[in-house]
Amino acid sequence: MLKIRINFLLLLIITVYHSSFPKTLLVGKNETIKTLRQAFEICENGDILKIMKGSYLENNLILTKQISLLGIDFPIISGNKKEKILTVKANNVVISGIHFMDTGASFVKDNAAIKLDSVSNCLVENNKFTNNFFGIYLAKSWNCTLRNNKVISSQKKQTYSGNGIHLWYCRDITIEGNTVQGHRDGIYLEFVRRSLITHNTVSKNLRYGLHFMFSDSCKYIFNRFEQNSAGVAVMFTHHVQMLHNIFINNWGDASYGLLLKEITDGEIYNNKFIRNTCGIYLEGCNRNSIEYNIFESNGWAIRLMANSMENIFAKNNFLGNSFEVTTNSTRNYNTFRNNYWSDYQGYDLNRDGIGEVPHHPVKLFSLLVEKNRPTLLLMRSFFVELLNTAEKIFPVITPETLVDNYPEMSFIR
């Protein structure tokens, strides 16, 4: 009787041990478990799957258990240019140290290297993604973190390419320290709430570096957007915070440092816009404050369309831009004050650091160019300079209210 009881106790202990302490399973060519598919069937919630160095061909893997996937020395999981690789349908999954490559491109399906589908508390960290259609795809997920991943592709055509990091109907996501290159959109967000996008480097994408729509209350801090063929475009969103980002070298026929469309109540502080065709383009944007930014060597620093109202531009530095501000109307309902303009030609008699002569950043020629683009041909011609000077003395066509009445005399730090 006693023996049976002890046996039972032992069994109990073993069961408790097994359910409360996670197992560590090894997957590899020289291990007992050869493939990931096999491992996913065996493992249980809470297990750790260590994937040994090597190459694994996998398509359409579906993970339904709450496990951690850890790669040892970056094992390669390849989709062999056919389908998607891994779909996660369980919460609390950790994916780290794995090299995903070659998901198949498709016009119909969103083939992603990792797709997080309706999950929470997942972590995707320190992975490499090479030549995938979509890199990391999150749908209807929340509280997830994507950190320090390298998502690099070399896609050629906009119509036949996917996004690096793609979020759809998500909330409370942290995207931190990732590098995204050569996709269609670097980071794409649609219907996302309260997310933090920070310290990412997004460059050389075919369309936008960052693209979001209907994604309210998100924060974008310390990111760098470089050489994306259409820059950064964000639309239909309110309460966005964009702080300390760098928009650089987005230079081309249809390229913008930052394109804002229907953005309201946003805060755009301490960003740098350097050598973009257009620093910020605002269309239908209201009640945004744009302060302490640096606009340097852009074609246009700011293109402000007339349907934007009550935006505040204050304490910005405008340095050597071809055009400082341009608009398409003679009316203006926005405020410019206390900016530093390198084109300012006034004086400061009482030495309070603020020029006594108001600065009109819109030149006659920029208005002409806005309405009739081929006239740009006459840029820097003697005649145009004469026209600008005449208009400055007797403003007739340029918007009189678009004026900085308190131009700063020196660079604002």
Binding site: D253, G299, G320, R373, P374, L376, L377, M379, S381, F383
Partner: protein, 263 residues
């Protein structure tokens, strides 16, 4: 040929001896050095130099050229009494003036630029086009001024015409382009405006510089048309051809009327 060589040599000696060429060189040197020491942004310097290119060089070449021919009329008559071909004399005087002027522009702006060459690391092609434009403008406007001086005996009339032509090429022409572009803005104007620009040497040399400045990216479709044309080999060849035509055509007309002229 020997006579041509001799005349060029003499004219160059003569021009170099006169003080205004030195002043002209010093003027360029002072402005370029000043600009370069105020800022280390090469783009700003190049744009200011471009303004000099567009305003000072045409003005100086036109006015100097006209005055030069008028002042030397006694010398011309004297030389023509010798067995020297009229064409040789005209060409000799033309080259004898335009070479030193182009050289003084090159030295005046080139030396300061060389001093600050570390600021111009990426601006090589722009600088090349800038100097190319300046040199061509000198040759073009000296040849125009010679034509004016040959056609007009009256000094005041000749000088007035020179200054008017300067105004026309540096300012009025652009005004006319602007008006045309505004009137016909509903039509595709890329090709016509390109033709307009190529027809004016001042605009052409300006465009050669600002296109290299990546301003083309500002222009969208228009810019694409321009960079495609002027950035490519054909466009460059056409620009150079236009500049060459501009410097040879007035010279040929001048030669012709000088040969027939009754002194």
């Amino acid at each position: 040929m020997n006579a041509l060589k001799f005349i060029i040599k003499y004219q160059i000696h003569d021009t170099l001896r006169s003080k205004w060429l030195i002043i002209y060189t010093l003027f360029f040197a002072a402005i370029s050095y000043g600009l370069l020491s105020f800022t280390n942004e090469s783009s700003k310097v190049i744009l200011s130099l471009l303004n000099i290119n567009m305003i000072i060089i045409p003005l100086a070449s036109l006015v100097f050229g006209t005055i030069y021919l008028y002042n030397n009329s006694d010398y011309i008559i004297l030389i023509l009494s010798q067995p020297i071909n009229r064409k040789t004399l005209y060409l000799g005087m033309y080259l004898g003036l335009s070479f030193p002027m182009a050289l003084s522009f090159l030295i005046g702006t080139g030396l300061p630029v060389l001093l600050f060459i570390r600021n111009f690391k990426e601006a090589g092609p722009v600088l090349f086009n800038l100097f190319l434009g300046g040199v061509f403008e000198t040759f073009i406007f000296v040849s125009i001024s010679f034509l004016i001086a040959t056609l007009n005996e009256n000094k005041m009339k000749g000088l007035g015409l020179s200054i008017f032509l300067w105004m026309f090429f540096s300012a009025l022409y652009d005004g006319l382009i602007l008006i045309t572009l505004q009137i016909f803005r509903d039509y595709p104007l890329e090709i016509p405006s390109l033709v307009f620009t190529i027809l004016n040497p001042v605009d052409l040399s300006r465009l050669l510089v600002i296109l290299k400045f990546d301003i083309s990216a500002l222009m969208g479709y228009t810019g694409a048309v321009f960079t495609q044309f002027l950035g490519g080999g054909v466009g460059f060849a056409v620009s150079i051809l236009s500049l060459l035509l501009w410097s040879t055509l007035p010279l040929m007309f001048g030669l012709r009327s000088f040969s027939k002229k009754d002194f």
